[in-house]
Each structure stands twice: as structure tokens, then as C-alpha cells.
Amino acid sequence: MKKLVVVGNGMAGVACVEQILRHCPKFDITIFGDETHVNYNRILLSSVLAGEKSDDDIVLNGLDWYQRNNIDLRLGVRIVGVDSQAKTVAGDDGSVTSFDKLLLATGSVPLIPSIDEVKKDGVFVFRNLDDTRALLKRCRPGLKAVVIGGGLLGLEAARGLRVQGCDITVVHLMEWLMERQLDATGGSYLAAKMNQMGITVLLGLSTTAILGNGKVEGVQFKGGGSIPADLVVIAAGIRPNVGLGHEAGLEVKRGIVVNDYMETSHPDIFAVGECVQHNGICYGLVAPLIEQGKVLAATITGNKGPKYEGSVQAAKLKIMGVDVFSAGEIGDKLDGSEVIRYEDPALGIYRKLTLKDGKLAGVILVGDTADSHRYMDWLRTQKDLGRLRRQLLSPGPAEDAGMDVAQMADSETVCGCMGVTKGAIIQAIHEKGVNTVAQLKECTRASTSCGSCSGLCQSLLKAVVPEFEEEVKKTICKCIPFSEDQLRDILHGQQLKSVQEVLAIYGNGIGCEICKPALSYMLDMLWCGDHDEDRSARFINDRVHANIQKDGTFSVVPRIRGGVTSPDELRRIADVADKYRVRMVKITGSQRIDLLGVKKSDLPKIWADLGMPSGQAYTKGVRMVKTCVGTDFCRFGVQDSTSAGIELERRFENLFTPHKVKMGAVGCPRNCAEATVKDIGLVGQEGSWQVVVGGAAGKKVRKADLLVTVETTEQALEAAALFFQYYREGANYLERTYDFVERVGIEKVRKETVYASEAAKQGLLDRLRKSKERSSDAWLERDTLRNPTQFVQIQPLDEVFA
């Protein structure tokens, strides 16, 4: 078997190997990668930086794939020499490997502009997973970070760091952002969106020096100005990594020169990806690399025939809530071209088409990229647009995505990254029996890169496979066209602090009884309590801190932590019940006391007379911890569940949660306080605690899942805290823990809470602590009314006769 050596374990090299594996004859394949990771999706590094994806999530081909295909994978080995006569490559580990065919897929390296004293502690590039990890290790909320470069990569890095809480300034040399993909107007729309996310953008500034003595303290600009910085990310572009091309004696200009068959100037050496130059162009985006790989696979396996004829340059900015798409020619100066524009500043939508000879030459979309695939197809096929002239900027019947896909031609590309056409997907569905999105990804690789075509893929499946069950995009309500997951991502790191602002920008500007409380919760959680509280967006219970009853009166449940009270408290409760003629005094199922039938206007007075904190019995918040008498009195108790429960309640009380949270702590497995059917339960055993989550004994009955078993009470409380905050951050509004745990899967919950990295755990605990610090007993509002009429019924100013 002939020996194929691949230098580079990135997206282009491995995608090409995937194609080669589909051809005959077979090769004996060795892949060298100087990074120590298996093939991963570089495009999603910004999502890793933003903490939305883990390292594992972005793996494209795991170790098992290499093994299955008998590929010898050498990670952490940098190839430093190529002998094109002897046909060997030399590694920096001293190894020499011979080849029959050599494939160079060495990608590119970050372009470092000439800046004085650039080598300082705190200066980073953002190119690979190790860079990302280093950045993640360094960044923390409040850190001043400066990103040099306002292109795709720089903006995605900026957004990731913003999500991590850094104060971000993007410094860009040119007059507008993404100047290679956008015109000045498009750039200004994009800058406005970045500003909304809390990112400062400085344009037309050339960075001349990094300030600081050994450690970054600021950056200086041409002309003398400077800004402070604790961290600098250089994302000023990339240049093809062509060192080995020179070594091998290949023709190299900016990149390694290849012809239409992806052949270099040496018959047994090939090159693909960002390191090559085809027809004078070096490509830096993923779709062309995939196209090149397909051609190269044919050539290298002796099936020479398919030609690579260049790609239409297209770019999509992958920042949630900031839609930018650009393809083809973007300048206004194209001879004989016409430009068609549409702008809506209020909605932040900008569209520009450049036509030449009745055909599309270029497109810019900001704010709404739903039609990008249609324009991309017009560009690729050079469709004559004469007949469509009146509909160029108006989308087709976009309401029904099924219609849209039906109108697509088979040759139209669905997945621009992986170069998968509609025809290829239909073929996979018919011939390979594909009927889920996961199978479609596996089979065609469609939607495995940036993921922006996943909607189209679903629509296709829906249209072609009768039994396809759509993965429904669940929006909160009709007011906002986003799912809660998406919305959390969008709002994360933005400056929007109030429900009305969110509705104005991402919704219909009005809102309803469903989304307003959901958004109220989300903002409170995201800002750790430092949001602009708008009581009009809260349910009445949260305006007056009591539970409305069928007759418009309210119920009052004071906090009795762990169900442990005192004669004094009981006397006060009894006195209050008498004084305000409470209609019913009821022992609740939660070891508390409910005073029912209270008038709204009496609430503040009752709270004052009780002198006890709110039990939050009326809200989606922390209810209570039910406890048994543990080791204090019980003959069987092996853990002090009473103290543990009281402490648990004390740590979480006054916080809002997606739905109510009821907890329990028991001192032995007899489970007298029913901890195993609570949202969070602590179950004492001899010498240890079991922390269980997701239990229920309401509309649904569910035994809680074991989160972790730990030795000390403090460890148990910490495990509970990790889960509690994880639920607060990840659950949809009105989703109880038992639904949340089932949806996410307890394994993943464990992995992301008690078994998460120390940094991730600390993040959860820090955010919980911050929220807790800002929270307070709602009943103290009796002394600091939100407004003078919060609890009263208004009396007319004029006398009215009945």
C-alpha cells in the first residue's frame, strides 16, 4: 500500500483525508499535527471562549475515527523538514518518515503587525485551542481587554471575552469594521450592534506599542493616544504557513502555488487549505477549503479529472444576535455595476446587492441573513436576475420554510461550509435512509461546521421524510422570536438591563403575561440581581410579595427555616392572626404556617408585626428546606440534617429561580422529610451525604437522581449550590428541576457541576454569591415602598356619592 503523509491535522487536511478515504486505491495514512488535539472545528473556538461549548463539543473526528480508518496519528509533532528527493519528512522529535505522496495542510499563522514591545505577559493571539484555553485562564469579569483587529476573528474573540465579563475595546486600523467583507454603511450597522453588546469600537487607529513593564498595561496608538489594558488579543489577520513549501522546493508566492487539480510544482506533493494559493487567491474561510479537498482527493488517488475553479468568497459572522453575511464583490467601484440597497436603522437591517450585467456580483446582509443561501446560489450560478428584478430584496415566502426549500434547485448549496447541495441531501435521504438531523450530519457532514444551515437541513428533512419529527424551535411566546436558550446567549454580555429594552430590541416592543415574567427572571439571573427591576413585568405575587387567592385576598407564609420555629414566633403568628382577622391558619405541607385571606393593604403591617422574613411561598424562588430532627433527638439519625437544612435554606433564600425550588434534608436513609422527592435533597448516611436532584412529588412524581456522594456537610452544601446555580442559569422559565434534569441528562449535569473544572465551578459559585449578595428579604419593602400606592386601594380625590 502506498504511503500518504499528511502534515496538518486541521479542518482542511482532515476534510481532505475524509474525501480520500472514499476513493480507491487505499493509502497507508499518517497524519502529523503540531497541536495536541484531535481534529476540531476551529470555527467554533469563539463559542469555546464564550463558554458555550466545551473542548469536547467542537471535536470533528475523535480518536475512534482515526483508529477505525487505520490512520497513524502523531500529535504534538511539528514537521520541520521536507526532503522532496528522498521523499521523507523530518519531525521536531527527531523522527524521519518516508512518503509516497505528501499532503501539506499547514494552514496559516497569525499575522502580527509591527508593534513595539509586543512580547509581553498578557498579549495573546487567538488561533487555536491552546490560545483559547490560555485566554480563558486569564480572563475574568471586569478585566480590561483590547482586541487589535476588527475582522471576523477579532469580533468573535471580542464577543467571547465580553461574555466572560471583560470590558472590551476593539481597535481597528481601517475606517470601518470587517472592511474586507462590508462597505462603510454595513460597517456602521455592525459597529452599532457591537456597541449594544457593550463592546467599544475604535476605528482608524494604528496600534504602535504595547505599554507596560513586562506585563501589559495599555496600548499606544499612532499619534500618541493610549488606552489602559490588562489583556491584549491580536487578531489582525492570518498569513499562509508556507515554510515547508520552501523546504520542499515548491513554487511559493504568498501561498504554495497549486493548479486546478490542486497539484504543486512537485508531482508527489500536494497542498490544500489556507496554505495554498490558487489562481492568485489565498482563501481563509472554510468552504473553499472543503471544495479544494474534494478535488485534491480525486487527483491524489489517481482519479484526476475534477477541477477546482476558485470559490466565491463568502463570510458569515458567527455571533448570536449579530447577523452578518457577505459574499462576492463588496466595493462600489466595480465598473458598470448597479447597487441596490435597503436600510432600516431602527431594526438594524441593512442589505446591499451589487449587480453587474443583470447578474449578482456581491451581497452584504447585516441584521438579517435568512436569505443568504439564495443570494449565494445566485452568485455561484450567475443566475440571470432580469425576471426577478422586482423581488431582489424581498424574500420569498419565508414564513413557511418548507416552501422555501421546495423552490431551491438541486444544485443549490445548503451547507456553505461543507459544500453540500440540496441534491446531495435528498440523495442521502433516499439512498441512505437518513431521517434525522444527526444522521444527516454523519452522512453528508452538512451542518457540522458553523451550524447556520441547520434550519434549512431540518426543513429539507421535513419536506422529504414523511415521518420526520421536527426539533421544534420553542420560543417563549409570540412576542419574541427566540428560544430561551438563544435569548440567554444573546443577552449575555449585552447592556440591556430591563424587560422593556429587551422587548424593544429583540421582541415586538409590547410583551405579554408569558414573556414579561420570563424576561424578568432572565435579567435578574444574568445580571446577578444588578438589573433594572420593572415590577410591571412581574406577576402580582411578585409586586406585593404574597400569593393571590381566588377572592383577590392574599396568603402570608413567613420563613421558618428547616421547619424549626420557637414559642415566641408562634405567639407572634397567633397575635397577627387575631389582629388582622386571618380567615384560616394552616400548617402547610412544607413545615410552615400559612395565614390565608389577608387584604393587600394589611400586608406590610402584618410583615412588620410578624418580624419574620418572607417565605417566598408566592414566587418562582427558593421555597424551603424540609428537615427531620436528625441527630439532635432521633434515635436513628446519623447526620445533623436539621442544621444542614437550615444552612441550605439560609444560603439560597431570597433568590429567584426558573420555577419554585423545594428542598429537603434527612439524617438517615429512612427519609422522613422526603428529601428524595425534592428539587434538591440531602440524604444523610453513616459518614457521608448523598446529594440528590430533580425529585418531584407534585403534578409529577419522580425519584431524585444522585448528583454526588460526599463526606462533609460543607461539601454537600457546595454540591447543592453548584446544581442550584446551574439550574438557575440553564433552565427555561417555569421548568422545574425534574424536567430540567431529564432534558439535560444527569450525566451532563454532573459533568458540568460537581465534576466540572475548578474554573467552571468557581464561576458558578461566584455568580451565585454575587446574586445572593444583592438579594434581600422581600418583606423589608414594607419600609421602602416601590411606590406610594403599592399596597393601597386609591380613594378618589373628589367625593363620589354611592
Binding site: E513, N541, I548, D551, G552, R592, M624, T789, I794, P796
Partner: protein, 141 residues
């Protein structure tokens, strides 16, 4: 019909996008601050008598806190599924010198009975429609 404009509250006492109940004679009226205007309806949901003044305002509608019936504050008509064939009485309002005024039909004479009669004729009697479940109004200790 005789009508009277009654000064009922200071504008500032009704927070933006919230409602407040005002006792006028022997009936309760819910007055809402919509930012650019005030709207008023009877403070009694046609479903189970819930206090509409305590509801969440959604545009020019209010959602009853008991079972989420949604009533238009402009027309008084129900606007979501179960409430669609019901309505509440509406009242004209105007704001003047920081004060909200409410127009009342003459409530001392027989015209009150007449207005009650009109109301009964205008609105279909609410059927006992099952409450909307999953609305965040159920909370127990």
C-alpha cells in the same frame, strides 16, 4: 345620559404599565397607566371576578391574575380563547394637570340601573370555561 368627570387619582400614583383599583361609590374601577394614556375598566374579571387591576398589562390589554383571561382595555372585550365572548365595562378617562379624571354615568339616579342593564345586554354571560393551566398563578407553600 348625564355624565360627570371625577378626579380620581394623581397620575404619579399609578406606575407605568400597572393598574390600581379605585373605589368609586360602591364599585371598583381598575385604572391603568399605559404611558401615553390612562385606560379604565371595571375591576372585576367576567370569568371569576378576579381583580384586573392586579394583572399584567400586555399592550392595551390586561391579563387577569387568577386564570389569565385577557381583556382589552380599549373595548372591554376578551381577547384570548376562553375570554373571547365576554367583556367588562370600560370608562373614559383623561389626564389634566397631573390628575386622572374618570367619566362616570350619573350614578345617583336610575341611570345606573340603566347602565347596568346595557352592560348585561352587551355582554354574553360568561360560561364556566376551564381555567388555563400552567399559568404562573398557582403557588402553594
Amino acid at each position: 345620559m348625564n355624565t360627570t368627570w371625577v378626579r380620581i387619582a394623581f397620575c404619579r400614583d399609578i406606575p407605568l404599565r400597572e393598574g390600581r383599583a379605585v373605589k368609586v361609590g360602591n364599585r371598583e374601577i381598575a385604572v391603568f397607566n399605559l404611558g401615553d394614556r390612562f385606560l379604565a375598566v371595571e375591576n372585576r374579571c367576567p370569568h371569576k371576578g378576579g381583580p384586573l387591576a392586579d394583572g399584567i398589562v400586555a399592550g392595551a390589554s390586561v391579563v387577569c391574575p387568577l386564570h389569565a383571561w385577557k381583556m382589552s382595555l380599549e373595548t372591554g372585550r376578551g381577547v384570548n380563547g376562553p375570554s373571547a365572548s365576554s367583556c367588562v365595562e370600560t370608562f373614559r378617562t383623561r389626564a389634566e394637570g397631573g390628575i386622572v379624571l374618570l367619566e362616570l354615568r350619573d350614578i345617583r339616579g336610575q341611570s345606573q340601573a340603566a347602565s347596568g342593564g346595557e352592560l348585561a345586554a352587551m355582554c354574553l354571560q360568561p360560561n364556566d370555561v376551564p381555567a388555563i393551566t400552567d399559568y404562573p398563578s398557582t403557588a402553594e407553600a
